[in-house]
Symmetry: C2
Subunit: 215 residues, 2 copies
């Protein structure tokens, strides 16, 4: 017979929160040091949980990596989905909004770009898995808009896949390299004015706003 319980976080919720904290710390560490450079004990220390709990939740390090990467890409999908009110707008307007949202995403989660660089230092079965399961569908979602913009002369006529790589890495650059930018030019890439300036710059370069700043 069920009984009423006091209003503290139920055991199951706390377990969900702990799991989440483990995934967040794992992702941060994998992005900083690469898969080989991180042990389950590093993650348990960073998340402030018992080593055995990570084994209980995730089994081994490979599964922990996959689950944290899955969560990363699912969050990206949510944050970058074109808002419903944009549907029916011209593709160049939709793509401008996408670029601006993507720049904000890169500023908020620089670990995403760092993780992909770490995994691309050495090829791996993990990377093949992530490419097939997350990156290919993500790129597949963006390619029709890029092809349409190229066809209409709004983007230059280059290989659309190369356009994706140029666009995404240019969006990530000031945030992924923020300490370098700070030391070299005294600019804080993460302050609000810089993020806004970079979103404007991206729209200008990739949607061909020659001779105007689109503020």
């Amino acid at each position: 017979m069920p009984t009423e319980k006091p209003k503290r976080a139920p055991k199951q919720d706390r377990s969900v929160q702990t799991r989440q904290r483990i995934l967040d710390e794992a992702l941060r560490l994998f992005a900083a040091h690469g898969f080989e450079g991180v042990g389950i004990r590093d993650v348990s220390a960073a998340a402030g949980v018992n080593h055995g709990l990570i084994k209980y939740h995730f089994g081994d390090k490979d599964t922990l990596w996959r689950e944290s990467v899955q969560q990363l890409f699912e969050r990206a999908d949510r944050e970058l989905a074109v808002p419903a009110e944009m549907e029916g707008q011209p593709v160049e307007r939709q793509f401008e909004i996408f670029i601006r949202r993507y720049v904000r995403y890169c500023a908020a989660y620089p670990e995403h770009a760092r993780l992909m660089v770490q995994e691309s230092v050495r090829d791996s079965e993990r990377l093949a898995w992530a490419a097939k399961r997350f990156i290919a569908p993500e790129h597949g979602g963006v390619l029709p808009a890029i092809k349409s913009l190229i066809r209409r002369g709004i983007m230059p006529d280059v290989e659309p896949v190369l356009m994706i790589y140029m666009l995404s890495s240019a969006a990530q650059a000031p945030f992924m390299l923020a300490p370098e930018l700070k030391h070299t030019h005294g600019v804080d890439a993460l302050d609000e004015a810089s993020v806004q300036a970079h979103a404007d710059a991206m729209v200008a370069v990739f949607l061909g706003r020659r001779g105007t700043t689109s503020t």
Copy 2:
């Protein structure tokens, strides 16, 4: 059949070659694993030399890092210098040659971009040193051309420092992420046709060749 003794490199030359091999392996390892992820013993194993020899040549790991980074930037300077025969050409033509050479440089030395990403994961005094000593002068050499191209409407009117970061990271992207690109799209970024296509794409995007492929 008369035999001659093979010509052995004189002792001093061999020492220079050994030093070079140590620097090359150190750079490759630092770029792959970050400063903290590499020990002098890893470098000695990779270079096939005695641990004590590295101490003899370089003292400590910090000095080894700085010497390998200095060599990296000096090589970049040599490979990217505008050839003498280009002087007097219009700035947009010179800059197109610069972009094409830079794309080839990125394909040949992906460890350069990886090293800067590794160092920007955590800020450090080493990074401050490299920024002041190498990156600031390198960017200072490119800024006047970018400003001139912006003034004349050939490049879009964006913050010139952001233009440097967009341009350099877009140039690096397919090579730094070559395994991802391979798994996701089946493309080998490092084959000659892909390098050429990427150089064309960079010129099209950053020098505003709208609606034409510049092959």
